[in-house]
Symmetry: C2
Subunit: 338 residues, 2 copies
């Protein structure tokens, strides 16, 4: 199961039975809006706080994924999820509604792959029959948490990214039909000394490169093994940096086989600066948009590398740098999986 | 591996090779001070913030556990840990220092058993050779985060508990000598409507009972299977409530076979009201005090049930109740393990 220092191979092929994605008004206007299962035209979802709206989106995503697979919440062994908010409160309240056993994670915008890696491991090793693996974020909740409340009207530099309002969820099982999770590489903290909370992409790029390089080395494959290496939310700045770093390691990728969820989701008319971000960014883009390409056979094998900036300088000390992490998970169509 | 809905049996007997505990000045004066590996007489550890002091304690605990097992950090596959602070920042900075692959968790005061359960699962299923599993808390960091800064001087009711300043860590492996982790039961969110952030024990007691009952039912054992059922930090109030609830379920326990880490750690002269709490409470008490009793043969089998209050009303909405969770892990001496 372990191969190398921090890569897992899933020989029993945990299956993604279904996925579900929910978004807000910006997502309803985005590039991949048709790939969402549910879109809201109100940032509040008629709730009394943004965090409660986020909870509701996570609950909706879980419900939709369950419905697609004709399963009920009480058949699920574990809900494995996290988010950006203090004490991952939105996730916990969704877990309360689901009434399933719950493993709470914190890996910021890398949560989707930390959860998917652990979920696939548990399924692969017969520790569960069904797992709901997901994550969520809310633009207004994240702005208040990490920068300034939106109402403050602070201007943002072009390096900043726009937190996705949404929730994404995958329902995994030990059997059934669907894309399978074939391997995962768990990230290390990489900290290159960036202290600017408006340049998370720059902080996260070296973490993505470290995890991609480790994954390829420990699996003894080269980058061409994948049709697509898909980073989570490096945005334009971080993605360009990571591409250059990979090139200097001898790995040449182009726009067709190296993409970023944060650059995929929004369109040019949306004021998102360097692109989308937030735990929901990689979750809704992968589980909404790219998973369909795998299901249709347009993509055979992808490596999803979600990246997280694990510390906001505003929460501890403005002079501290931003440690980042990236966890990678490979997904491919079941029938092509051997 | 899965038995029932949410219990794992670890047939390959993951071994706790070593443990380490670090504490602050209150812990240096506590009941079990002689069981600590390292005690500090300064809440700041000469750092510029309480969170940085907490980071240092987590790093020290990992170092001591590694030294005891004659291992180096680069031999470790994963560091699996979390804490109470926003974005689990102290844990992340410790992970940065360790330079191992890192899985961040959030399960508040139930983190020690969530981490130990996942770590044992990964080792048992050959997903790792060595894992550092731990958690930490700092009284002053937690007070500021969840209630009021200590300097504010707010009075506290007798139901309140005192967050332990410290870090505890266990080093797990697939082979070697030491106590073994034999099973785990993952908790569900239990919310009985308690809204008082100064009565976390009361909020957590039903979660502990739910997990204990589920564990016994799914393992098909009765409570007498264990020499000791050890709750994390229910404190006097929560422990008494949980005992009554267990009794009404037909499970009769007394002070010799049903204890609480929060009632074990501090002595009567210490102004801790209903007892100790915080992720470090169950970690230092178990990994310092009780593990030695297992190693000496004074305890044969224990069930550690760490409980977490997963939401501070102050962080979301004062009217919201406090969802709680408890994860249980059974530990026994290796030679008696079959």
């Amino acid at each position: 199961m372990l191969q190398g220092q921090r890569t897992w191979i899933f020989d029993n092929k945990p299956v993604i039975l279904s996925t579900a994605t929910v978004g807000g008004p910006d997502e309803a206007a985005c590039n991949i809006s048709k790939d969402f299962d549910l879109l809201h035209d109100d940032m509040w979802l008629q709730q009394s706080s943004f965090e409660k709206a986020q909870t509701m989106m996570m609950e909706e995503a879980c419900d939709i994924a369950l419905n697609k697979a004709s399963l009920k919440a009480d058949e699920i062994n574990f809900f494995i999820s996290g988010d950006l908010t203090n004490q991952i409160t939105p996730t916990t309240f969704a877990a309360k509604t689901l009434e399933t056993a719950y493993l709470g994670l914190f890996s910021a915008c890398a949560t989707v792959t930390q959860s998917l890696a652990l979920s696939a491991f548990l399924i692969n090793a017969k520790g569960a029959k069904y797992i709901l693996s997901g994550t969520s974020s809310h633009n207004s909740a994240a702005e208040r948490q990490f920068r300034y409340p939106t109402e403050y009207g602070g201007q943002k530099p072009p390096t900043s990214q726009y937190t996705v309002t949404g929730a994404g969820c995958a329902l995994l099982s030990d059997s059934g039909t669907g894309p399978v999770v074939t391997s995962a590489t768990i990230g290390k903290i990489v900290d290159m000394g960036i202290t600017d909370p408006f340049n998370m992409g720059g902080a996260m790029a070296p973490a993505a490169v470290d995890t991609i390089m480790t994954h390829l080395r420990e699996r003894k494959i080269d980058a061409s093994y994948y049709d697509l290496i898909l980073t989570g939310d490096l945005g334009e700045i971080g993605h360009a940096i990571s591409k250059e770093m990979l090139e200097s390691e001898g790995i040449k990728l182009d726009d067709s086989n190296y993409k970023d969820c944060g650059m995929t989701i929004y369109n040019e008319e949306q004021a998102v600066n360097a692109g989308g971000s937030g735990p929901a960014c990689a979750a809704v883009t992968t589980y909404g948009h790219f998973i369909k390409k795998i299901q249709k056979g347009e993509l055979k094998r992808i490596l999803l590398v979600a990246t997280g900036a694990l510390h906001s300088p505003l929460s501890m000390n403005q002079k501290d740098s931003i440690p980042a992490i990236a966890h990678a998970v490979s997904i491919e169509m079941g029938s092509d999986s051997q």
